[in-house]
Amino acid sequence: MEFSNAIEVKNLTKKYSGFLLDVPELVIPEGFSTALVGENGAGKTTLMNILSGIRLDYKGDIKYFGTYTDKDRENGPEVKEKIGYVGSNAYYFPQWTIGNIKELSKLLFGSFDAEKFDAICEELAIFPGQPIDYSKKNSALSEGNKMKLRLAGVLARDTEMLILDEPASPLDPLMRDKLCQIIRNYIDEGDGKHTAFYSTHDIADMENVTDYVIIIEHGTVVEQGFAEDLKEKYVLVKGESSDADKAKEILYTMNTGSYGFEGMCLAENLDKLAGMDIIKETPTLSQICIAVMKAHSKLG
């Protein structure tokens, strides 16, 4: 598949005490929605903070929209105006009212559309059936409404890329479905120029909107690719207990039980399972992500 990149990363490193983010190569394809998946502490937020220009003390090269470098991001307004970032914490101050947030957004972002902001706040039912209470403080909103308010702020701007750090975490199932619809609409409206990049712990909820997946473990990217390609690369295999020991040597990851075994197999290794009584299935993205994370996890 031919595509251009919204973001290209080369030799990116960021060191903390006891943690190293080390990404030799990473691409986020333009015009698609990309999920960033990984365990707690894998480096997802650090990576997103670097890409969105929050953390600057790193080494490596980042290219935006095929044109701009990370120096351009800091020296000119273009890159930051094109990117809408929503963080999971330390985003809006607790004492800011919705009115303050609207005023500040106008001051800080050139393309912020106040009327669109109001319309999105209403669409997301932050104050269901009531007019927007501009005097309401951010701290007085529920976690779900805080996230809706952040999304309203970023969607009210004319951006080309959304970077969303765990946007689904505080949302209820209905709003998660709405979030997927929002992301899909954003991608579709961009006519190949809109990109969404979001981190999530629950890929199952975002599966129907995810085109491309990046899996990160212990600060490094362990898998990345289009969902359809990954579903061809990995095959879900189920078999009898009697074959479990033999299959274990071939499978990428495996769970066993009284019923038999279930595991993920690289498609290139399927021939090695010949002679075993197995069922082959196309895995879901969620199953692939869990298998890849499990293969690299230090969890016992």
Partner: protein, 221 residues
């Protein structure tokens, strides 16, 4: 350049109300100004501490603007660099400049009313402005390296106070002319604000000190 400085100052004043806990910080700022005025009245302008308290208002202005930078919403805006460098430095320096001008007028009036204390009135003005210079340098470092900046500031403050007390108490130097002290005061604000700006630019890429923003982060997470 002047137009940009004025624009940054205007923007800074607009943004102050969005800083962390603006009412509490403005209240503290006002409290120190009142204490400063009280010290000035009590000492008839012969102590440096009254002026220093009043001039802390510049540091408060700086602090309230830079506190916004802990917000990732602010950090991902195109104005991130300005909000970590020029806007807080210029706003803080302009507030110091305005307060210093009032203080100079007050001290000149006091020196004319109490000519017998004129030397002490001007010498303490000189001490206060040196301390303001130190706080400007502190601003340039403390939000990236809080511990280091605080340590250096304590050493510098005690150094300046020690040297000034020795020089002025022992009358080992010829008193500095009033006009020169006033001029040095403005120069200190101007030059040290430029140095603070340069430090902010040099340290811009460093992560914000979690220790400096501990209170804010605790409330945000």
């Amino acid at each position: 350049m002047i137009k940009k400085a004025v624009n940054d100052f205007v923007l800074g004043m607009k943004l102050i109300k969005y800083g962390f806990r603006p009412k509490m910080n403005l209240g503290l700022c006002l409290f120190f100004i009142i204490i400063g005025v009280a010290v000035e009245i009590g000492s008839k302008g012969t102590e440096f501490l009254g002026i220093f308290y009043m001039l802390l208002s510049g540091l408060y202005a700086f602090q309230m603007i830079i506190s916004m930078d802990i917000s990732s919403f602010v950090q991902t805006s195109k104005m991130k660099r300005a909000l970590q460098t020029s806007v807080p430095v210029i706003t803080g320096a302009m507030v110091s400049f305005i307060v210093y001008t009032f203080v100079v007028i007050e001290r000149l009036i006091l020196a004319s009313i109490y000519p017998e204390s004129a030397t002490a009135i001007i010498n303490s003005l000189f001490m206060a402005i040196l301390l303001v210079g130190i706080t400007l340098l502190y601003e340039g470092i403390c939000y990236k390296y809080f511990g280091l900046a605080t340590g250096l500031m304590v050493i510098a403050v005690f150094g300046v106070l020690g040297v000034c007390n020795f020089l002025f108490d022992e009358n080992t130097v010829v008193p500095i002319p009033t006009g020169a002290v006033v001029g040095i005061g403005y120069a200190v604000i101007f030059v040290f604000a430029i140095i603070a700006y340069a430090l902010c630019r040099i340290l811009y890429k460093k992560d914000l000190s979690k220790f400096a923003f501990k209170g804010i982060l605790g409330k945000m997470e």
